[in-house]
């Protein structure tokens, strides 16, 4: 039984039909790499999975939590779905530790002491325990993104959404973030990543999903698809990236 099921998803931005019937099942522990040109709908698809975008038709199910068009109570779903953003979006007024603790205390009502223990564990995992009392603006971009990952992990999500999480980083900082993601994948975390890092997608991904004009144009094993794309659009896309 799939952990994430997406059925017949449609979305418009005004008159622009951006998702034209998406069906996608994701098994527990799978790493999905969503690729495609800008405007292909890949980021929008990712953002609908935790309710940051609404949709008009279809259904999303994550670990038994159902999401329908125009649902407004997203609290249960969002506790199971973590998200990492391109721009990190750390809370600048809170210390690194407080950033990681906030939702566990406010949403899960975990006590101060236990929340701090969880935060320290997660920061240790991303290699930033010593930055517990630092503030976001004292960290490099790569460090901020690793804190953002720790912040999402502290909620113990069943699935983690990554929206171009290395695109805003200087090239020399990309690897430290990818290394953390790689560890998570190895530990069996379910990951859905919109990414431009094709080598990473090929190495770590279990399934490649190529989006084109609001549809899943082609999907399958990354190694095979990269070596042998079945459609001219994917071949074209891979050619333009390399």
């Amino acid at each position: 039984m799939a952990l994430v099921r997406i059925n017949g998803l449609h979305k418009h931005f005004g008159s622009n039909h951006v998702l034209k019937g998406i069906d996608l099942d994701i098994e527990e522990g799978q790493v999905i790499a969503l690729i495609g040109r800008s405007g292909s709908g890949k980021s929008t698809l990712l953002r609908t999975i935790n309710g940051l975008e609404t949709f008009e038709q279809g259904e999303i199910e994550v670990d038994g939590e159902h999401l329908h068009p125009r649902d407004t109570d997203l609290r249960a779903l969002r506790q199971k779905v973590g998200m990492i953003f391109q721009q990190f979006n750390l809370f600048p007024h809170l210390s690194v530790g407080r950033n990681v603790m906030l939702a566990t205390q406010v949403v899960k009502k975990i006590g101060e002491k236990e929340a701090e223990d969880i935060a320290r564990t997660m920061l240790l995992k991303v290699g930033l325990l010593e930055k517990f009392d630092a503030y976001p603006d004292q960290l490099s971009g790569g460090q901020q993104q690793r804190v953002a990952i720790a912040r999402a992990l502290a909620m113990q999500p069943r699935v983690l959404l990554c929206d171009e999480i290395t695109s805003a980083l200087d090239p020399e900082l990309v690897n430290e973030v990818l290394a953390v993601v790689k560890t998570l994948a190895a530990e069996g975390m379910t990951l859905i990543m919109v990414t431009h890092e094709m080598r990473f997608a090929r190495e770590v991904g279990d399934k490649l999903v190529f989006m084109h004009h609001g549809r899943i144009h082609e999907s399958g094993d990354p190694q095979q698809l990269f070596a042998n794309p079945q459609t001219p659009e994917l071949a074209n896309f891979i050619g333009s990236i390399n």
């Binding site: 309710g51 940051l52 998200m83 953003f85 906030l102 406010v106 603006d137 999402a152």
Partner: protein
């Protein structure tokens, strides 16, 4: 009328200035509380409070303060309430202040980047929790400089209440000018009095404005 000495003038003006300060503080505190309510109405998800707050703000920002004071003064007597100039002045200036502060603060809330809303939403915080823990603490920091800056407008606004008979600095000045036949000196002193109240606030607001960019966000 030569029995009114310069000292008498200054002493009377200082008395008037105390009322100006009292009225300014009252309007600023009460207007701030009402402005906070307006802010929440203005950014509510429900469109009804949002439109009501918007209408309120447009009316108070689109009509003269003097007319607002007249409406309160004569409107209340229509309701059979004989209110003193002090009450009318405090009420009028409070409403005026709340409209401007509500709008200033809304601007501050909206200047918090959208990513902060999205990040806190994806952590399953409710709308109220997002405001309380993530948005308002950041908006507050942005809001301090323009709020202090607006306090200057409140102090200057109190001068208009002299027209409905509230005896503050300007009204005291008018009466002294009539009694002493020295309007140049009296109104010069009145202007200096306002300057002494307002300039420190303006300068402090500018100082905060400059430092907000250089300082850390915490």
């Amino acid at each position: 009328m030569n029995d009114i000495s310069t000292w008498d003038i200054v002493r009377n003006l200082l008395d008037g200035a105390l009322w100006t300060i009292g009225l300014s503080l009252t309007a600023f505190v009460l207007g701030g509380i009402a402005g906070l309510a307006l802010l929440f109405a203005r950014i509510a998800k429900n469109p009804i409070p949002r439109r009501l707050a918007q209408g309120y703000i447009e009316v108070f920002q689109g009509t003269p303060l003097l007319m607002q004071l007249f409406m309160i003064f004569f409107g209340s007597s229509l309701l059979g309430l004989e209110i003193s100039p002090w009450i009318a002045a405090a009420l009028g200036l409070t409403l005026f202040t709340s409209a401007y502060l509500g709008e200033i603060w809304r601007g501050c809330v909206e200047s918090v980047p959208k990513g902060q809303w999205e990040a806190s939403a994806s952590l399953a915080l409710t709308h109220f929790e997002q405001m309380r823990h993530v948005i308002l603490p950041q908006a507050l920091r942005i809001a301090i400089a323009p709020t202090v800056g607006f306090s200057v407008q409140v102090v200057k606004g109190t001068a208009v209440t002299s027209i409905i008979g509230f005896v503050e600095l300007t009204k005291t000045g008018s009466m002294l000018a009539n009694a002493t036949f020295q309007p140049f000196m009296v109104f010069g002193c009145v202007a200096l009095g306002y300057f002494a109240l307002c300039y420190p606030l303006s300068a402090y607001s500018r100082y905060l404005e400059r430092n907000i960019h250089g300082s850390r966000a915490h």
